[in-house]
């Protein structure tokens, strides 16, 4: 192979190198288009600027994608996360809207606990269908994806519930130490999931179940429980994401909240280098993937790309991101550029002695 690529192997060989590069390129392109793109200023005691927007807006996606990563690592998929976002947001907003004092902290906490609890139950439902009854994950979660939207609308009665609650709003828009609270929550969740999987043996067990379920069973892993657990975790992540989304606009829209976020989340996971076939997963990759997707969305708005072409643009970027990450593609490109003789037929003059 060629020496240049060899020299950079340690860097380019890192699994997160290519997604990170893509992100950097996208940000650079934006900056070229609008020099102020990356500028961040302090406004009214907190950071203000497009990069902050990207981080804040990607927080819900990061959360959903974190849960999705675990689900995908077990070889499953969770289509119901969008509906779960809508349900949890709707329950929380409904509870707050009915309270006499929307700004009271206890009201908000009850609302969150209530919604979170319901989300856990629904996650357990998904887990039950997949792990106990043995329904294929895509179908098992499709049920809740369809019915869950209905539930969310049932809760809001098809209306948009608008609330006026300072504490709740803070989940989406609040700031702590100049940083948006949403980012802090997402980072905390990421650290928690990372600790849960990498500081314990959970990660290994999840990867093992996803890599070879039968072998794991015979090694004494209760794969059923693990599979069940990841759907609950995914639902929990989706619930928090739902709070953020609804808090961001201070209203719950059963129909629109979290619509198609499952596709974005899956996309983020895969861009981050986790295979849909299950097995090895990378949380860092997932976060990068989510950032790439949000940057993409923001780019469309920031460059004022015609809505008619924005999907075409998205298609091009997605395929480019994946191609650049594909070792097969890079091998092909570098081969074309490099040696013209694909198979050198000359023998090495000196044989190396190999110790037995």
């Amino acid at each position: 192979m060629n020496t240049l690529t060899d020299r950079f192997r340690p860097l380019t060989g890192h699994r997160l190198f290519w997604p990170a590069l893509v992100l950097v390129v996208m940000l650079a392109a934006n900056t070229v288009y609008r020099p102020g793109f990356l500028s961040v200023e302090v406004k009214e005691g907190h950071l203000y600027g497009t990069p902050v927007d990207i981080l804040r807006l990607s927080a819900p996606l990061i959360l959903v994608a974190l849960g999705m990563t675990l689900v995908i690592a077990t070889g499953g998929i969770d289509l119901s996360v969008g509906s779960l976002c809508a349900i949890s947001g709707a329950i929380a907003c409904l509870h707050i809207s009915e309270a006499s004092d929307q700004n009271s902290l206890s009201t908000v906490f009850t609302a969150l606990a209530l919604a979170f609890g319901v989300a856990l139950v629904l996650g357990a439902w998904n887990g039950l269908l997949v792990a106990v009854i043995g329904i294929q994950p895509i179908i098992a979660t499709l049920i809740l994806m369809v019915a869950g939207r209905g539930l969310a609308q049932l809760i809001t009665e098809g209306q948009i519930i608008t609330i006026n609650s300072g504490p709740y709003r803070a989940i989406g828009l609040g700031h702590v130490l100049t940083l948006p609270l949403a980012i802090i929550i997402a980072v905390a969740a990421a650290l928690l999931v990372a600790a849960l999987t990498r500081r314990t043996a959970l990660g290994l067990i999840v990867e093992s179940v996803g890599g070879n379920a039968e072998a794991s069973r015979l090694a004494g892993i209760r794969s059923g429980r693990i599979v069940f657990l990841v759907y609950v975790v995914s639902a929990a992540c989706a619930a928090i994401a739902g709070f953020m989304m609804t808090a961001n606009v201070s209203s719950a829209d059963g129909n629109a909240a979290g619509l198609w976020i499952e596709l974005d989340a899956i996309l983020a996971v895969v861009i981050g280098g986790t295979s849909l076939a299950g097995g090895r997963f990378s949380l860092g990759g997932t976060i990068l993937g989510a950032l790439i997707i949000q940057t993409l969305t923001t780019t469309v708005y920031a460059m004022n790309i015609d809505p008619q072409t924005s999907l075409l643009f998205k298609a091009v970027v997605v395929i480019a991101v994946c191609l650049i990450q594909s070792p097969a593609f890079r091998a092909r490109v570098s081969r074309r550029r490099g040696a013209t003789t694909p198979r050198p037929t000359t023998r090495q003059p000196e044989k190396e002695q190999v110790s037995a």
Partner: protein, 330 residues
């Protein structure tokens, strides 16, 4: 060794039945569901109701057949809904600009397979996961739709109108549309291809274990690319049928159709990991979705959210029963 012959007879029956259990379970449950409809709702027993299920789901059926090929290899094709829409849009806009119907048909039928072919190549040569490659395809095709026009384009062409409004029926007034016949033809061809051609068998082999298939000297790459092309072709045919059905091209039509299609294929007993399933099962899967929808319309008392909840509930009941029956027979 000779002692093994005693196992010969034993292996035969159960394995044959077991292979067909999912499909048979689906069939039985479908009939039960239909019976419930007949007993609950006035006019449900009309033959035309059954015909309508076919008329209304002909395009879905064709697309699901294509998806069956893809899922049998263990892949997935998310682009189908958008390709259907794109085909309809392209047809509508070409017809609007005055091209002859025959030419439009050819062009429209070429686009889908071409996109499918490209996605297949990306998947095979560059190891891009099917989910992602076809998701990009989905974005692309949907983007093309709105690019062509952001409003729906009516079709007034004589050929299209005939195909749309021609009724083939019995003297008592029951009828099906030409699209239904086309869809059934596609089903038969697909079933035939899967059972009686090398390509069809390779599809199963690749789905069973693509690594093994490669070592067995099967054209894995070609097969893989071909199934996405087939799926693209089916989506294109589905798109044409949809344009017959609605006599227009609309940029946002068939949004989310890929999920319906995947659901139909899986309900029909095809396993998502690939290697096992039948086109006939897919037909049943499509009918299940069609009957669920018909039941809900006939009921006519559900509001929007209850509609969704009930669809989800029926889907659940159906899959649960199917699963339980499957377990019992194993």
């Amino acid at each position: 060794m000779s002692s093994a012959s005693s196992t010969t007879a034993r292996a035969w029956r159960p394995s044959l039945a077991r292979r067909h259990v999912p499909v048979l379970a689906t069939l039985a449950l479908l009939l039960v569901m239909y019976a419930v409809g007949v007993s609950q709702y006035r006019a449900f027993s009309n033959v035309q109701v059954v015909f309508n299920v076919f008329i209304d789901n002909g395009f879905l059926l064709v697309v699901a057949v294509g998806m069956t090929f893809v899922i049998l290899t263990g892949g997935i094709d998310l682009s189908v809904g958008s390709v259907v829409a794109m085909t309809a849009m392209v047809s509508a806009s070409l017809l609007q600009s005055g091209l002859p119907a025959a030419l439009v048909l050819v062009v429209a039928l070429l686009i889908g397979p071409t996109l499918g072919f490209l996605m297949g190549c990306a998947i095979h040569f560059f190891d891009i996961q099917p989910f992602i490659a076809t998701l990009a395809g989905m974005f692309f095709a949907r983007g093309m739709c709105t690019f062509i026009s952001d409003a729906s384009i009516p079709i007034t062409d004589g050929f299209w109108t005939t195909m749309s409004q021609e009724r083939i029926g019995d003297p008592r007034g029951n009828f099906v549309s030409i699209s239904v016949l086309i869809a059934l033809a596609v089903v038969l061809v697909a079933a035939y291809v899967l059972t009686y051609t090398r390509f069809g068998r390779n599809v199963y082999a690749v789905g069973g274990n693509s690594q093994s298939a490669l070592l067995m000297g099967l054209p894995v790459g070609r097969t893989r690319i071909a199934v996405y092309t087939v799926s693209g072709l089916c989506s294109a045919i589905g798109g044409i049928l949809l344009s017959f059905y609605t006599l227009s091209g609309a940029p946002l039509i068939a949004v989310g159709m890929e999920l319906d299609v995947i659901a139909a294929v899986v309900i029909g007993g095809t396993v998502l990991t690939g290697g096992s399933g039948y086109v006939f099962g897919t037909v049943l899967g499509v009918l299940v979705l069609g009957v669920i929808q018909t039941l809900i319309t006939f009921d006519g008392s559900l509001n929007s959210w209850w509609t969704r909840i009930v669809i989800g509930g029926l889907l659940f009941a159906f899959i649960l029963l199917q699963r339980l029956i499957g377990i019992r027979f194993k």
